[in-house]
Symmetry: C2
Subunit: 426 residues, 2 copies
């Protein structure tokens, strides 16, 4: 068991990293292009006040790795970033919100141009720049706002810039997400920090939404990639907001090595110490992403125990957390156990005996068993409602099949989800 402490700060908490976020006008230009059905670069760029361009940079070349969406339709930023990370090295990140630069004929060129603009401003190699975008799909990325603001962005880079960078990657997120955690690895103080955006289109079995992580640990890019995959598997990959998966999801990490620990190059004790802290941080972020799902009023956690194995537990937890009917029932504080049993039943997971399933709801206001041995119970509806009116609900599903356990994270389905997505682009 490793010791670690969450601290204030974000992506600039680890040694060597600075960040900044500005309002460049990408959002405004994209929105104008849609509203006016005119070309983005011809419409006047009047920034709407929201930050939409962020940069993260290190004063040295870092080990780096990233994992991406599994959607076959990918933003060109992913192809560019993948090429740039082929050597396991990076020094900076440039990312915009408001336009996903996906499904555009000139997407690759513009993603490469974004990286080049950042590299030129920073005086580094464009191959050492990670590039990412998030926002509307199928609208040409307006490059002018980025070109016109990249020098200003570079000038603003500072240790205090994490919050602004976190803001700049938000789309329909209502709160910015940043985090930092400290631990000791190989006798040296190590810090890991990050920013993330989520909201809609977060689904299980994805790399992630946009998340950028920095650390001053010394660790090889191969081990960074392994740690990303392992940590994401029980955190980002267990989040579902609406079952849709994005074209742009990117989870990238840069390691400066300034902590001075012996470089982690294999799966030794130091690797597992690093992985444990990264996993704890990613689980915290996963809950934040779920709680801030589009229109969400509640964080839902589905905790499955006693499944045949971990795989079955994961499948069941994801199925329940992804059920529109469960999500709507939780919004309405309706202790409907049928919705939960249904979602277990159609999950596709092997369940030895549905007559051994118990279901309970748990929150700060208490716990109530609503289903025992596969059968609905007569329960105290008033107590159930009190429990379900809290803003963090755990649905506990206990099977009698084995020792498999898993947790998935989601949110309720609300009127606002429909409102947000009924007219997303403008």
């Amino acid at each position: 068991m490793n010791n670690f402490t969450f601290i204030d700060g974000g992506v600039t908490a680890p040694q060597g990293f600075v960040a900044a976020g500005v309002c460049a006008g990408v959002k405004q230009a994209t929105s104008d292009a849609i509203t006016k059905a005119a070309k983005a670069n011809e419409s006047p760029v009047i920034p709407n006040g929201k930050r939409d361009l962020a940069m993260i940079a290190c004063d040295k070349i870092c080990s780096a790795a990233a994992i991406f969406t599994r959607n076959l339709v990918k933003s060109d930023t992913i192809y560019v970033t993948r090429e740039h990370l082929a050597n396991g090295k990076a020094q900076a990140v440039i990312v915009n919100s408001g336009n996903a630069n996906a499904c555009n004929p000139d997407g690759y060129e513009k993603a490469a141009a974004m990286a080049r603009l950042a590299a030129d401003a920073l005086g580094i190699d464009e191959n050492d720049v990670i590039v990412a975008s998030t926002g509307v799909i199928g609208q040409p990325l307006p490059l002018a706002p980025i070109e016109n603001n990249v020098e200003r962005l570079k000038a603003l880079l500072s240790k205090d810039g994490s919050a602004q960078a976190a803001e700049a990657i938000m789309t329909t997120d209502t709160v910015k997400k940043e985090w930092a955690v400290q631990t000791v690895i190989g006798g040296r103080n190590v810090t890991i920090g990050g920013i993330a955006k989520g909201s809609g289109m977060i689904h299980i079995n994805m790399g992630t939404t946009l998340s950028f992580v920095t650390t001053d640990a010394a660790i090889s890019s191969e081990m960074l990639k392994c740690a990303l995959i392992e940590a994401a598997d029980v955190s980002y990959n267990m989040v579902s907001v609406d079952g849709d998966t994005s074209t742009n999801d990117t989870l990238a990490i840069l390691a400066s090595g300034y902590a001075g620990n012996a470089e982690i190059t294999e799966k030794n004790a130091d690797y597992y110490a690093f992985l444990e802290v990264l996993t704890a941080a990613f689980k915290k972020v996963a809950k934040q992403l779920a709680a801030d799902g589009e229109g969400a009023t509640k964080l839902l956690i589905c905790s499955v125990k006693g499944a045949k194995d971990e795989q079955a537990a994961k499948i069941i937890a994801k199925s329940v957390i992804g059920s529109s009917l469960v999500k709507a029932a939780m919004f309405g504080a309706d202790a409907n156990c049928g919705r939960v049993l249904c979602a277990v039943g159609y999950s596709g997971a092997q369940v030895d005996d549905v007559r051994k399933i118990d279901v309970a709801y748990l929150s700060k206001a208490g716990e109530i068993l609503v289903c025992q041995n596969g059968c609905g119970l007569q329960f105290d509806e008033a107590k159930a409602e009190r429990i379900l009116l809290e803003n963090e609900i755990t649905i506990v599903i206990t099977l009698g099949d084995g020792c498999g356990e898993a947790e998935a994270y989601g949110c309720d389905l609300t009127y606002d989800y429909v409102k947000i997505n009924g007219d997303y682009r403008t």
Copy 2:
């Protein structure tokens, strides 16, 4: 190519069948039980006016078959019906709404008792009764309302009773679904008719929601089962309202043989003529079920062409029609092509080249291409909105991979869906 005509009427249109539907008080008793957290049979049964008990009967024993939900958690009505259909024979159907009789400790006994009550009233063998339920899961089925009303129900059986039976199986449906179709098979006039309920919890890859079909064709139970499976595969199984699948879904068919055609006992020309008509009827019902999805304001049809094969086309059509983001965008008349491309990309179907995908929207108001060769187009937003404000929208996806085609049916995601499912039980 067979000739057939849709005619007025429903499940009683074929020769030999009568039906009825009454308000027995199952809904009220179940709702009372939840509201008061008291035992259903102890609460006063004051019918709330909605029909909730239906019967369909034939004056002779019929060939019969049924297909059921694939959910592992099943209503006990399914186990009872499956046993009763083991010999391929049935003479009557009894079905209630308001209570699903699923996830109850005494569900099997009560389902068997329902069948027995119907059999006693009709003077037939209980093994010749198909039993089904729909409604709230995990609440004991109140038998008293059924016991007290089954004789009245029997007395009301008539050729005019189809509409009442169709009403009695509705839950959150807003319109009753009944249909009838006439054709000629083996030189004899053949009629097929049916009633159906749908609304929430209709998902692809299911038997169906509750649907009862009658015909006066002479056809063996084995061929009835084959025809059900084949027709459902391109109709009921291509409908998605909310991605959830029910514990109770049942699609049952009874054939009286009164048409006098040579009995269909193998896959000959008469079988395919029967299948063609059944498929056309089921597709019509599938669209009705989708259009009347919970809270729906629009029927959505996803038409996929040029996929690698039919299987890939089906997977893509289902993925798009099931996407919450696509559904919300259609509610908002937002011609977002990114949502559609995304759903193609994460569908899991093999797509050879995403840069060959075209997407268009089509309705009575016209057609507009919004994506060509995998890239979003600049299009006339006003025209797009006019097209999407219609109440039947086809999303046409053309790939460049092969000759696979498929159609899936769904509806938009609306505020009312959330409202309906936020507190479904009471």
